[in-house]
Symmetry: C2
Subunit: 217 residues, 2 copies
DNA sequence: CTGGATCCTCAACGATACTG
DNA sequence: CAGTATCGTTGAGGATCCAG
């Protein structure tokens, strides 16, 4: 059994205690995906294909014991269990966004072989890079495609709403590869990205200019 | 040898990449202490008494390889090496503060047996809980003592400056134990804490009321 | 004395097979 | 679908030793 002495840092400190819990391997990734919405065991597994099932089980139990995650009976057919964040777990969002911002800016270079993009990682990337200051008075909706991943976002009242899947009435559809990152960092202009075909859009190019204002790394 | 496949999450995502680096055991604690200031190997070791030396060496090398930490020759007697954050490393501060806030509020209960408080953990705790909104027009300086740990803070222009050691001309000296946390969460009032002797102050009690406004969990 | 390197042990992780 | 069980591998913990 896990003795108390392991996995602790021995400091009476909020930060150290936080890291003891969410610093475990895979834990923060689970929180990231659950920030997008409640999920079942299998959905979590599909969103994190490389996590072993026993580790997924162990982490969920630990996060539950820490009051970050709770199990709820699904109201859907066949029942089953849903994992969702508690209010305390939801409060991790600022930390997740801050780390995501840092990572996108400082350590995200080119995709490595076999690296994937998932619905939830894309959705959180949008939330991470969203610039409320540039969203004043903006009302727009986007569908974003990256390979098999399709998500969408609506901007209104200076806020963002995100979701998985297509958005039939989207103002603009953006079909992009990793080059989208270069647009978000400002390395290349939106028009350039369209011109050299590293990004393909369906809709008004001006809306893609707007997109580059709304989401910055 | 450590193949590339270990310790990665296989996702092209800023957040996942960040966690691959700073999610390693001890890594975030090292960043926390280095955010306070550059340090030598032995100082880092004393600030994190439970870290094995080989792990400290390994983490410093990894953080250096990731561009977060750099080594600098000390200008002090005998030379020696100083470890300090790079600009990229400094940019981790928002994430560290966000995690610290979450931990202080959600998972920091009572001190566990053998848990210690260090200079750097106290300093970062002050920075974490500092409320700029309540510091408008405030000009005050505090010396804070917790057992053997003595640090200080100066508030001015809505900003905070922190440092290790005493502050001879401090407006107020606060000598407290873990009960200080209860004051910062609002569980007990500053005056109560003084009355029941869980906090001892040298100076005007009104300045301790002010302290409780400036630092909140 | 600082700044490590080396060794061994054991707990945690990773891969996969299996079960209610 | 939602986990357990098993087992090999990797990294952390702890003590000791070495070089400048």
């Amino acid at each position: 059994m896990g003795m108390v002495s392991t996995r602790t840092y021995g400091q009476f400190c909020g930060f150290a205690r936080a890291v003891e819990i969410v610093g475990e391997r895979w834990a923060m990734l689970l929180v990231r995906d659950l920030l997008v919405g409640p999920k079942r065991f299998g959905e979590l597994q599909r969103g994190l294909p490389k996590i072993p099932t026993n580790i997924l089980t162990a982490r969920l139990k630990e996060l539950e014991a820490a009051g970050i995650v709770r199990r709820r009976a699904s109201t859907q057919p066949g029942g089953g269990v849903l994992y969702e964040l508690t209010p305390s777990g939801e409060e991790l969002e600022p930390a997740v966004l801050a780390l995501g911002r840092w990572g996108a800016k400082n350590v995200l270079d080119a995709p490595r072989p076999d690296e994937i993009v998932t619905n939830d990682s894309m959705i959180m990337a949008l939330r991470t890079t969203f610039q409320p200051k540039n969203a004043k008075g903006v009302h727009a909706s986007y569908e974003l495609r990256m390979g098999p991943v399709v998500i969408h976002a609506r901007i209104g009242n200076g806020k963002i709403e995100t979701g998985a899947g297509p958005l039939p009435d989207a103002d603009l559809i953006i079909d992009a590869g990793p080059a989208l990152k270069s647009v978000m960092t400002g390395e290349i202009s939106p028009r350039e990205a369209i011109a050299n075909k590293s990004v393909h859009i369906i809709g008004d190019p001006a809306l893609f200019d707007r997109f580059a204002e709304l989401f910055k790394i």
